[in-house]
Symmetry: D2
Subunit: 423 residues, 4 copies
Amino acid sequence: MSTFGQYFRVTTYGESHGRSVGCIVDNCPPGLQLTEDDIQPQMTRRRPGQSALTTPRDEKDRVEIQSGTEAGVTLGSPIALRVMNEDQRPHDYGGGGKNIDAFPRPSHADWTYKEKYGVKSSSGGGRSSARETIGRVAAGAIAEKYLRVAHGVEIVAFTSGVGHEHLFPSTAEHPTQATNPAFLQLIDTVTRARIDEFLPVRCPDATQCAKMERLIADFRDRKDSIGGVVTCVIRNCPSGLGEPCFDKLEATLAHAMLSIPATKGFEIGSGFGGCEVPGSAHNDAFVKAPAIPPAELNGASSEPPRARPRLTTKTNNSGGIQGGITNGAHIYFNVAFKPPATIGQAQQTVGYDEAEGVLEAKGRHDPCVIPRAVPIVEAMAALVVMDALLAQSARQSARGLLPVLAQTVPVGEQENNLTKARA
Amino acid sequence: MSTFGQYFRVTTYGESHGRSVGCIVDNCPPGLQLTEDDIQPQMTRRRPGQSALTTPRDEKDRVEIQSGTEAGVTLGSPIALRVMNEDQRPHDYGGGGKNIDAFPRPSHADWTYKEKYGVKSSSGGGRSSARETIGRVAAGAIAEKYLRVAHGVEIVAFTSGVGHEHLFPSTAEHPTQATNPAFLQLIDTVTRARIDEFLPVRCPDATQCAKMERLIADFRDRKDSIGGVVTCVIRNCPSGLGEPCFDKLEATLAHAMLSIPATKGFEIGSGFGGCEVPGSAHNDAFVKAPAIPPAELNGASSEPPRARPRLTTKTNNSGGIQGGITNGAHIYFNVAFKPPATIGQAQQTVGYDEAEGVLEAKGRHDPCVIPRAVPIVEAMAALVVMDALLAQSARQSARGLLPVLAQTVPVGEQENNLTKARA
Amino acid sequence: MSTFGQYFRVTTYGESHGRSVGCIVDNCPPGLQLTEDDIQPQMTRRRPGQSALTTPRDEKDRVEIQSGTEAGVTLGSPIALRVMNEDQRPHDYGGGGKNIDAFPRPSHADWTYKEKYGVKSSSGGGRSSARETIGRVAAGAIAEKYLRVAHGVEIVAFTSGVGHEHLFPSTAEHPTQATNPAFLQLIDTVTRARIDEFLPVRCPDATQCAKMERLIADFRDRKDSIGGVVTCVIRNCPSGLGEPCFDKLEATLAHAMLSIPATKGFEIGSGFGGCEVPGSAHNDAFVKAPAIPPAELNGASSEPPRARPRLTTKTNNSGGIQGGITNGAHIYFNVAFKPPATIGQAQQTVGYDEAEGVLEAKGRHDPCVIPRAVPIVEAMAALVVMDALLAQSARQSARGLLPVLAQTVPVGEQENNLTKARA
Amino acid sequence: MSTFGQYFRVTTYGESHGRSVGCIVDNCPPGLQLTEDDIQPQMTRRRPGQSALTTPRDEKDRVEIQSGTEAGVTLGSPIALRVMNEDQRPHDYGGGGKNIDAFPRPSHADWTYKEKYGVKSSSGGGRSSARETIGRVAAGAIAEKYLRVAHGVEIVAFTSGVGHEHLFPSTAEHPTQATNPAFLQLIDTVTRARIDEFLPVRCPDATQCAKMERLIADFRDRKDSIGGVVTCVIRNCPSGLGEPCFDKLEATLAHAMLSIPATKGFEIGSGFGGCEVPGSAHNDAFVKAPAIPPAELNGASSEPPRARPRLTTKTNNSGGIQGGITNGAHIYFNVAFKPPATIGQAQQTVGYDEAEGVLEAKGRHDPCVIPRAVPIVEAMAALVVMDALLAQSARQSARGLLPVLAQTVPVGEQENNLTKARA
C-alpha cells in the first residue's frame, strides 16, 4: 500500500523520473487556514542542491494544491498536492545508462524491485528514490500546521550522529541519552530555526557539527558515503494518544521511521541503552504537574497555555509514551540511517545476466542523507501524531456524550480532553 | 485498532482479568492442516511459571479453536482462538488492592490508560498486560505453520542481551553484528530446539547464558528488574516481499516489534552500528546464487529444495531487505526490551489524588521479560511475513495472467514465483 | 474480510456447526453501561424456534461477554462476544447426510464455497448459514445502546412485504412509499414493542399481517418458500453523518444490507419508484425546523430534547440523506429478501460428480426469513450509523479546536455539533 | 474516506471548481500495457456536452498519467491520473452567484455539506458534483483493461428505464426481468458499441429509446428533470469472487453503485421482483456446464476460451452470485437514479438565513443523468470485480502451495483456478 494512516490518510505517488510526484491527504479537518506557503518551507528544507554536501540535482520542488481548499481554507475534502519532476535524466546514475542497465546497484532496490514486480524500470529502484519522500513532507506539513494551531505541538529533528561522531554518545554514566542532562536540556528548547543555523549538517553543536561536516566532505571526496543518526523531539503532544496493543504510538512511530528510505534502526526514550538500566532507576516516578508547563516559562513556545495532565514524571526514560499511550511528556527518538548505497567508487559485483563486472555510478548523489532526512523525519512524526489524535478525538468526543458513572472520570476533570483544550 | 495485518488479519481481545483472551485470524489460506497441537507449543513457551526466573502466576494457557477448521483442515473462514483466564486475582499487584488502586505504577500503563479512556479498570493498565500477547502468539503459530509448509520459512528468536551482558557486543572491528562471523554462523543454523536447551534464559551460548541467568537472579533477589535484547532470524523467506514506500518489510517488522509491551528499540541488519560503516564496505555486492542453498547443504532444513533468486549477496548488511523488499537472504533484527516496570521495591511516587506516597507492589511479576519474549517476537515476525506474502501472492498471480512483454520478466524465469515454488 | 466498519469495527467468526459463533467489537466508546442484558433481547428476537413459521432448530443463543467491560461498564478495549453452538447436527440438511454430500443445494452457497476455497465443509455453505448473523446482531445491540443513550437514536424495522402481499404497494398516485401519508405516519411513530405485537410476522397492520401469515403457512405446507421485504426507519440520527464520495451513508447502508444472507435489493427514500417522479416534485424543499422535534411532541421518544439542524425539509423523498450525508430527517429504506434456497420439495439438479439426480432436503429450515430478518436489519443499520458517527466525531472535534474564520460556521452555531449535543 | 477497494485501491480527489480532479490507483498488477488511450474512451463517454440532452458545460476531460507506467507498461507502483478543470464558473449555478450563496439547493448536498464540515464552499456541495466521478471512470478503465486482458471479462451497462418508460417492466408473468427471455438474450450479447448506436439515450431498443428521448426532452423544455434505471451485465467473471459475510460481491456492488451521486436503489438478479417468486421456482438448479461457453459460440467474445466451473445453472435468478460468491454465470443488476436536483424551475424554499424565498438556478445541468451514468456504473463494477479478484488471487495462490488433502480439491481440478486460467 502507498497509504499511511487510518484517520488522517496520506496516499503518495511518483517515481523519480515520471511527470510529477505528489499525494492525496484525506480527512484533514475542515476550517484550517492552508496555502502552499504553509507547505513550501519543509519542501525547501528537504530539496536537493542545498549545499556542496548534497546532490546537485536541481529541482525547484514547488508544491501546488490541486483541491480541498478554497480561499485559503481547507474544505474537509481530499487535498491533492503535486510537484513537477523537472530535471529528468533517467540514465544518469550509471555512466551513460549502460552500467545501470546491466548491474543492479549493490544495496539499492534495483534487484529487489525486479524480483517483486517482474518489470525493470529505467530508474532501477522505482519508488525507492528519495523523490518519493516529497509527498510525505508535503503531507506532513499540513499535519504539522493543524497540530501547531490546535494543540501547540512542536516537532524538531536534528542530526545527532554522522559515522562515529555522536552528539550524545553512550557512556558508563549515561548508557542512554535519556539520563544525559545536556540532551534533556537541548530537547526542551531546540527549534528548527536554531537547527538551520548549523547548515549544512543540522547538528546543533558547533564543534560536533564541524567534525561531522569534515567527515561527510571526506567521504564525498573519496566517492564514498557514510550514515548517521537523526534525533527528533515532539513537544506539547496531548496525552492519551496511541492505540493499545498493535498501534501503540511507539509502534506507529517505528513504522513511520523505518519506512523512510535507508533507515536501519529506531529507538524511543531510553532505547537500546535503557536495557542496561535497572527497573528501579528506569521507572519514571510520578510527580504533580507544575501549574505552568516549562515551555511557557522559558519562552520557547509562543502558544497560549494549554490544559495538561495533572501528573507528570520526574524522569523521562519512557520518552513520553507509557503502555503505547502518550503521557504529555516530550516524545523523543533516534533513527539510524545507513550510508547511501549509490557511490562513485567502482564496485565489483555481478550483473542481471549473472556475469561478474564493475559498476561505476556517475550520477548525482548524496554522500550522507542525514541533513536532508531531518525534515522527512519531522514529517513522518507529524503524520503519526495527527493520525493518533483523530483516533483519540473520535473516542473522546463519543465518550463525552455519555453520562458520568462511578467508575469513570468526569470529562471536565480530564485535563487532556481534546475537545475542550481551547476553552 | 486491535487488528494487525491487511491480508492475514489478526484481531485480539482480552484483559488479564476477564473471562478469556483470544483472537480471530481472518484470511488464513484454506486447506492447511491445523489443530490445537500446532498452536500449543508456542503458547507453552510463552506461558508464565516456566522457571524460578518467571512469574509464578500459573496459567495452563490451553488454546481452543472455536471455528474455521473441520476435520483438522482450515476452511478459509475466520479462525477464532480462545484461552481461558483461570488464575484471576485482580488486586494482587498492589498489596491487597489498596496500593494499586491509589497509585499509578511508574512506567506502567495505569496512568496513561486513565488519561486515554477516562475509565479505571481494576487491573490498571488494561490490555498492557502480558496476557494480551497470548492472542498474538496463537495467531503467529498459524502463520508459521503455513509459512513452513508452503515455503520452508524458519523463524528463530533468542536472547542476545541481558543488562550489560551481550552475546555479540559492538567492537571496533565489528561495530555491527552484521560483520561478525560468529553471529552470521549462528543465525545460519540456530533452531528453536537448540535455543530451548538454554532454558530458562534462551541465550544459545553456555557461558553468556550462565552470566545472564545470574544477573536476572540478582535483580529478582533485589526486587528489581532488568531489560535486554532479543535477536530474531527469518530463513528461507521468499524474495519480493514488502511493499515499497510506507509498508517496507523493515517498517512493518518495526511496527510489529515495537507493539510488543516493554520494547524500546528495533534495528535490522547492520542497525545502529551500520551508521558508522562506509558505504563502500556496507554495500552488499551481488554474487551468483549457489545452486543449492546453504541451509540444505548443512542439513539445518528438512524441507525440499525451493526456487531461489538467481543472485544473492556476498555480505548481508542489509539484513535480507533492500528498498523495503526481501532479497531471499536471512532477515535478522534486534529488539530492545526495557526492565519490567512492576518491581517489588518500594517506589516513591504520587497517587491518583496527586499526593506523594510509597508504592510497594506485592504481585507476581517477571524480573526480566526477555526469555518469555522470545516466542512473542517469533509470532509477530510470522504475522508480518505472512501478511506480506499474501500481498505479493495477489500481485504475482495477477501478473502471471498477462502476456509477457519486452520490458517484463517471463514468470517462468522469476525463480521466486510464489505460485510455482513447489512445481 | 470478516470485518465491518472502519471506526467502530466488528469482526465476526463462526460456522453453523463449530464450537461457538461470535465477534469482537473494537473501538466501542469507554464509559458505556453494558451487560449481557443489553444484548440478549435482540438475540432472542433473532433466534430460531420462535413460532411454527420458523425453523425448529432450538438454540438458546445466550450471549457471553468475554472482555472489554468491568463492573458493567465498557473499558474502551475490544469487547469479545460468544454464543455456543449447542444443537449441532451437521448432516441434517440432506436426508441423513448422503444427499447434501452429493448435491450442492440449488441457489445455496455450497457450490460457490467449494469453488472459492477448494475445501468442502460438512455443512456445505460454511458461513452462509443464518447463524453467521448472530455476531452481527450482538454487535449491533452494543452500537444501538450507545446511539440511544448518547443521541436518542431509534431504529425500528418491520415486515412490509411477503410474496405479493405489500403493506405499501406502489400506486399511480404514490409510485413510491415516500409520498404515502400512511407510510410517513407509521415510520414517525412505530416502535419495536408495537412490531412485536404482530408476531410471528412482524408486519404492523392486522389485516396485512394475517394475509402474510397465511401465505407463509401455505408455502411451509407445500415444502416451498417465499421472500419478502423488510422496511427500516432510523429516527433522531444526527445530521452530518456519511462520508462524501465512496462512503455515502446510503452506500454503506446498502453494503450492510446486501451483506445479509438472502438479500437481493435495497432502496432508500423514494427508491426505484422515485425514478418516475419529476425533479420538481421530488426535490425536498427546505423549511425552518420546528423548535421542538415531532418525536417529542407525540411522545414517541422518552429521551430529552436534543440539538437539531436549523433547517429541515417539507417532504422527505431523500430518506434523510442528501449528497450521502444525513440531514436529520428520518432515514428509511427497504431490503428485498429472496425465498430461502433450502426447501423440502424434491429438486431436479446435478451433483458434485456432474451426474443428474434429485435432492430432497430433510433438515430444519424457515419457509420465509422475513420475520427473523427484522432484528438483523436493525443491527446492521446500527453498525453503519455508529461507524459514521465516530468518523464525524473525529472530524468535528478536531475542527472545534481551530479558530473561527470568515468562511466557517462557528461551532456554537452548528446545532448538530456532536460534542455539545448534551450541553 | 475517499478510497475504494482493499486490494485494488482507488483514492480520488477534486471538486468541480478546483485546479484539477483525479485519482491514485494503488496495487495495479505490473506488466499491463497501459496508456492514456486505454482510459480516454470511457472519459469521453462520460463527459458533458455530448448531446442536446446533457449539460453544455464544455470540458475536454483529457486524462494524463502522472506516474506508475514506463514505456506504456505498468510498473506496479501507484498510477496517478489527472484531469484539468478548464471551464470554471463557480457562481454559475445560482444566477450570478447570489442565489446559490443564499439558498441551499433542495435535494442537493449544499446544506448537508455545511452541516458536516462547517465550511461553505462557493460551489455548495463540494464533492457531490458530477465531476467527482471522473476519477472513478479513469480508475475503472484501468481495472477493465486488466480484467479484459487477463480474464476476458466484459462489462456493459445501458439505460433500461427513464421515468415511467421501462425496457423490461415487471409483469404478472415476469415479476422480475430475471425470467424474461428478451432480457436474458440481450445481456448475453449486448456490447458497448451496440449501446452507443442508441445515443444520446443509450437504451438498446429503437422504440423505447425514442420514447425515452422524447421524455427527457420534455422535462428539459419544462426546466424539470427525470430519473431512471441503468442495468449492467458482467460477463466472463471468474467464479469464486466475493468475500463471504460482510463483503459478499453483491454487497460491494451495492456499495459501489449507491456511492454514485443521485442513486436511490440497487437490485441484483431477480431483485425486488424475486421476493414474489416461490423458492421452488426461484432456485437455480445446477446443470453440467457446456464444454464451450455460449459467449464463444455466438461470437460475442473475441477472447480465447477460458477455464470454467464444471457446473452452471439452468436459470439465473441469482444474478451470477450465490452466498456472496460468483458462480461464473452473468452478473446483472439495476441501479435507480433519482431526477437531478438542480432544475431551472423556480423553487419555493428557505435560505441559509432561515428566510423563505425563491431559488431559480441558471446554471448548466442535465435534465436526466442516466445516459452519462452508463460509463460510471461500468467503472464502479470494474473496480468491485478487480478488488475481489485480487483478494481471491492471494487466497488461491497461497492455497496452491499446500499439499492436497482428502478434504480439499486438487488445484488442477478447480477449473476456475485464477493462476492457471491461461495455461
